[in-house]
Symmetry: C3
Subunit: 416 residues, 3 copies
């Protein structure tokens, strides 16, 4: 029925009938059949559609990368389905698949035992290793379109196969996670742990100070770096391979690696802040033992007064819910947020380290690919409703050996 073509009373009666009908159906529903597999409690997903424009770049950078134009364009950054549920009160699972651009990848695929007496929770399967505040925060809830150089490939290790224990101490004030993971190098493993605490949590989460630290000892034979400058749809500015040759990888020969990070997060009313410092130390076959150092500082502010939600149980940030959702004409404005970040990666010590190329021949890491890189990002976010977000980012990336470039990028996002 068209509301405009009817009197208000007609519309009301129509709605009233539907409501009454629903209410009567719902009575005695307890004995009803399960609608689906009764072990699926939620099915959903996310769509993130990005458009990236390389608006300015040094000729020296393009020459160094061996390209006529920097990569840019549109992509489905993430397109996912997931299901989660429980097969027993103490035994949950999640399975999440990504169908983003040109690729299918299994993200979460885990089984989790929890709530058995005072025992820690146990997770087995494929899931995120417990490192980094930014990594533990879902991509649905990050404040800028790209995570940092620190997160993407230096200290964070993404999702891997493994077994992890998690526990909470003292009224959820201290969270500990400790896991054994498969490094993907024929059964070699890593031990990874993280400890976090909201040392301040008051005013219903409008005042928070989060501290954390993580450490990972990794048994691997080779290590390779290849990082975009906090813009996903472009070239790698930092790489152990020859940066002008995107086809041939160069892997450093290592005995093992160690990753460590410290993290700080804060919420103060409409303002929020986060910063991490991380170090990657390689025990290399040639004895040079280089380190990579990286950090970032990020701040944001809700023009419309919301606070960035902090999740005490996970030690990460959560979903922004606009105070006044934009649900149509003459409704609220949604939430508006400004964000800025400065990020540094210094991989210079890797220059000259012994490595092998894709054919297994000896080589060494060229200095041009591992120079210090600084990235500055400004962002504007609009959250019309809690499950949708529009992001606009300006990024300036400066690689010391090659040169700098600027980008404008935008994201349209829903999750369901």
């Amino acid at each position: 029925p068209q509301a405009g073509a009817q009197t208000q009373s007609d519309v009301y009666d129509y709605i009233d009938n539907r409501l009454t009908n629903l209410e009567s159906k719902l009575e005695g529903v307890e004995g009803g059949q399960e609608p689906w597999s009764s072990y699926v409690s939620e099915f959903g997903g996310r769509i993130m559609y990005d458009q990236t424009f390389a608006i300015d770049s040094d000729d020296s950078l393009k020459d160094g990368l061996g390209v006529d134009d920097l990569e840019e364009g549109a992509e489905l950054r993430r397109a996912r389905f997931f299901a989660e549920g429980a097969v027993a009160p103490w035994l949950a699972y999640k399975l999440q698949i990504d169908f983003g651009d040109g690729d299918v990848s299994t993200k979460d695929a885990y089984i989790k035992a929890h709530g058995l007496g005072g025992l820690p929770s146990v997770k087995v399967g494929h899931f995120k290793e417990p490192i980094s505040l930014e990594e533990q925060t879902s991509s649905k809830y990050i404040s800028l379109m790209s995570r940092t150089m620190l997160t993407d490939g230096v200290i964070s290790q993404g999702r891997n196969h493994g077994l992890m224990l998690t526990d909470h101490y003292g009224d959820d004030q201290v969270n500990v996670a400790l896991g054994v993971f498969d490094t993907g190098q024929n059964g070699k493993s890593a031990i990874t742990g993280r400890i976090t605490a909201p040392v301040v949590y008051s005013n219903g989460g409008r005042q928070v100070v989060h501290l954390g630290a993580s450490l990972s000892q990794r048994n691997v034979d080779t290590f390779e770096l290849g990082l975009e400058p906090e813009v996903h749809k472009t070239d790698d500015f930092v790489a152990t391979r020859d940066v002008s040759d995107s086809e041939t990888g160069v892997e450093i020969l290592v005995d093992d690696t160690q990753v460590s990070g410290v993290e700080l997060g804060a919420v103060l009313g409409p303002a929020h802040f986060q910063s991490e410092y991380g170090q990657l130390s390689l025990s290399t076959a040639d004895g040079t033992d280089p380190s990579v150092d990286t950090y970032y500082v990020q701040g944001g502010f809700f023009l419309t007064g919301e606070s960035r939600p902090y999740d005490k149980a996970d030690g990460g940030f959560g979903r922004v819910k606009p105070n006044r959702p934009f649900t149509g004409a003459n409704s609220g404005s949604g939430a508006w947020e400004l964000v800025a970040r400065y990020s540094v990666l210094d991989a210079e010590e890797m220059a000259g380290v012994s490595a092998i190329d894709g054919d297994g021949n000896s080589t060494s890491v060229a200095a041009a690919g591992v120079a210090e890189t600084n990235v500055t990002t400004f962002g504007l976010n609009w959250y019309p409703v809690a499950h949708a977000k529009w992001m606009l980012n300006y990024v300036n990336a400066d690689q010391d050996a090659l040169g700098s470039a600027s980008y404008v990028a935008t994201r349209f996002q829903v999750d369901f």
Copy 2:
């Protein structure tokens, strides 16, 4: 309470309370958790299983294609899951993935804003460019097993990343769609538009005349053609590459391309008709600027009296619902339909045009692969119920330079 006795705001609050109450009760139905993501309103999919037999072929054709036998056999033509819903009254989404033979591909993955005042709808993400009546009609609802040469690679551009505005004028009599799309060649873009109108729409859709036109201006560096003869599970009869060498592509060097098409559709009781003419014009680097011309005419008739449904909002055809569904013994017969189509593609002007092969070496398009091709198809369809279809096709394809072949193919289809 009587709505008339209250202010609108009171009525709203009253309804809101009852709704919230219902929603929270419903969440409790599955043991304290939401039954599913409340933002998914439909989950479904489709299965199309095809069997193709090459029943007859000229020796000259097999020699020209460099094969002992034409390709044939069974395949899962389409096997899909999708979810769709809305995260706000004005903001919908759809995510659809295909798992058909040997391949995974992301089909629809879009976000759509609509119903905001008098503004056009806006779609962003990955979806069909607005070209061609046959392309806009879902594969669930096409009348023969394969779309036409016109649709598959000449004027239609399939699904791409982009942003599209759509609007309706004059009681849905005129539909306009206009979009900017990524051509997949490092950020280069295309502008595509379509305008359609059901100039006749009467008798509840049993009498329809649909007219339409589309145009696309495309900024690309290379263009390649490779088309099966309206039989999916067989060899390419038309190709810019050497047709006897299915491994090595040959791409024409272009400055840009332009695609244009006109379309006619009609429904007259149990009969239906559709025809399209399309032209692809290449501005080539060598200045020869060839065009490809293509058209088809198709007619169908429901022996059991149904009409082919026309969708005014989308400007395409929709789901056939049998008058007397076949639901078991002693039930109706389902719907039975006869279809015939004649299709022509003339790509002769491409012969000799400058191109590059897969190794980047200069070459030119061989005449044998771009000769005029004529395809005649006869089809018998049975729709036992609205969500199932059995198709039987006979196809004769004649390529002027190589020779001709005949096929029989059959499809078993359900969608859910």
Copy 3:
């Protein structure tokens, strides 16, 4: 949203959306109807996470396989979503996709007509060929982590495209399945049939004797073998290719092949038993016509008194339901089961048979890869609840020409 801040039409649309959403959910809860797409009656999946350790191995074996260490490590053995339902009372479908390690594959994708008068059921699409008791038993319900050498590549043919008739005779005492399948070699086909009967079925399924036989005549040009020793995450011990070269396949040139198998299954209270003998006969181009012989015997026992469920309709084993589920502290113990299996494969007759390598060059099958192989497996299973399982396996595999190795492997499994 605040009603006063919006037009009546906006408020109406917003309420309408919430009502529609509630109504569709409630349809599912009521039973008989489904919430979403009304043609999906079940959506679910499975997660199996495995960890494999190669605990001991002969140097001769590693030398023969050309590796420094046997392959081992963690993997998502299976990670699946499926949907099934019906579009008419007589017309069902299933679509199931696997996202296990590093791979996406379409498993079941079929349409099934059934219950039409006294006619056999007809299945078309992609599904398992009717061979082998172990193969017909879902991977969710197998007693050891890996199926047998008999099942994986010798007599079982996995899932293929095809059309199959199934029927039941005499109160479900005799099941017959007969199908035509596509061998994947350009339209060449196979005919496969299976007949089974529970010759004893009493005491509500606590006493069962199952007999069965299957036969498949296959029209193919080439045949290749490559089998792990009943441990999925390790190297192929048996292969027609040079076993020290995992890159280059070696395919035997054949005119056709024939597969035959006989099967025995039994349940006696908490004990169960199964055994199969299979033979693969090749009609080779060189006239040597070798055969591969294989069999296994397996027994299991539920320490907690359950019986292994037998499914009369499918002629296979089903889901174990613990008598006393483990649902938390002070609940039951779940079901505990011990299993043992001995398995033999003799492919020696393949040695020296004419073949082609990956480049199409003539070669012959090396004796080292096709020596007799014996595998002994011991297993301990815990079923805390009906939809979860933990498995622990010890496997000793002995290949006559190369040597032997031992493994310990464990699986964490849920299905939903």
